[in-house]
Symmetry: C2
Subunit: 151 residues, 2 copies
Amino acid sequence: MNKIHRKVEYALISLKHMKQKQPGQLTTVKEICRAYGCSFDATSRVLQMMVQKGLLKSEQGAQGGYLILRDLKKVSLLDLIEMVVGPISVVKCLDTGKEQCDMETRCNVIAPLAFLNEQIVNFYRGISVDHMLSVSDRKCAPFEPMALGGM
Amino acid sequence: MNKIHRKVEYALISLKHMKQKQPGQLTTVKEICRAYGCSFDATSRVLQMMVQKGLLKSEQGAQGGYLILRDLKKVSLLDLIEMVVGPISVVKCLDTGKEQCDMETRCNVIAPLAFLNEQIVNFYRGISVDHMLSVSDRKCAPFEPMALGGM
DNA sequence: GTTAAATAAGACTAAAAAAGTCTGGTTTGT
DNA sequence: ACAAACCAGACTTTTTTAGTCTTATTTAAC
């Protein structure tokens, strides 16, 4: 129950990887797939979607790759989800412009479901991608500040 | 994205219907299906699950039916979801006792995902079924921001 | 210029999950 | 005895998700 799309997972994996790079340094899909074992095509398409939505920038051709364009602190998980899989709706009949269900007028839970939908949207809106990706950095810290001193 | 299980929908439909009855009055599956056009078998099994989890009581035989047993104010949406579809986990590898994914050690987002999972669980825990079913008994205004003000 | 490495994008296929149906029970009031 | 209702598992269909294939296009390096 409540699985997130693999697309969102690939997006998070890629963003976390890219976040750890020097500013301006490009990342290739190949690099990500080798590092985490994810599907090339699938990951590739997710990155392309993020480019289209202005979250990433891409350099084509040899020596090309991807770059984070926006400040991840200002990108919510809702933004990311909408970028790669589309708008959130807990039931079909709440999709804007989509088909009506066959219950239509007699449905007794449409209002509660619309309410729930709104709550969920607000929930995801309240989580920043940057914050989420920073969770538990202590445990697997790549660039720990205090590492500079000793050890 | 983020569709709720039909099972949860049927559960909500049924509970809302039963909630409006006199105390002690039984409800049959047939009655619910006729009223809202949902599948008999599917609805039936959802109600049976709620009986097993102690949320409903059933009277078998002719003149039988279902009855709400617990106070819906004290039943969270999380409880309901877990009853009818099982525990929430945003990715497979967070299912307790389930398989590991093939990324295992190299996965860079397991901590963020575990964090997200916990947030979602808490989110659903914070919504009472009773409250949700009471939303907008007047009229449904799907995405109107000022809807909660109270017309 | 040619080539190799990279992104871009759509169509197609396979796998998994969800939803629904069928069958055969059991219980109980009339 | 019978009909109306719950109970429960197996099965099938449909839908969604995930992955693959193919064919561009761009650009650095040789």
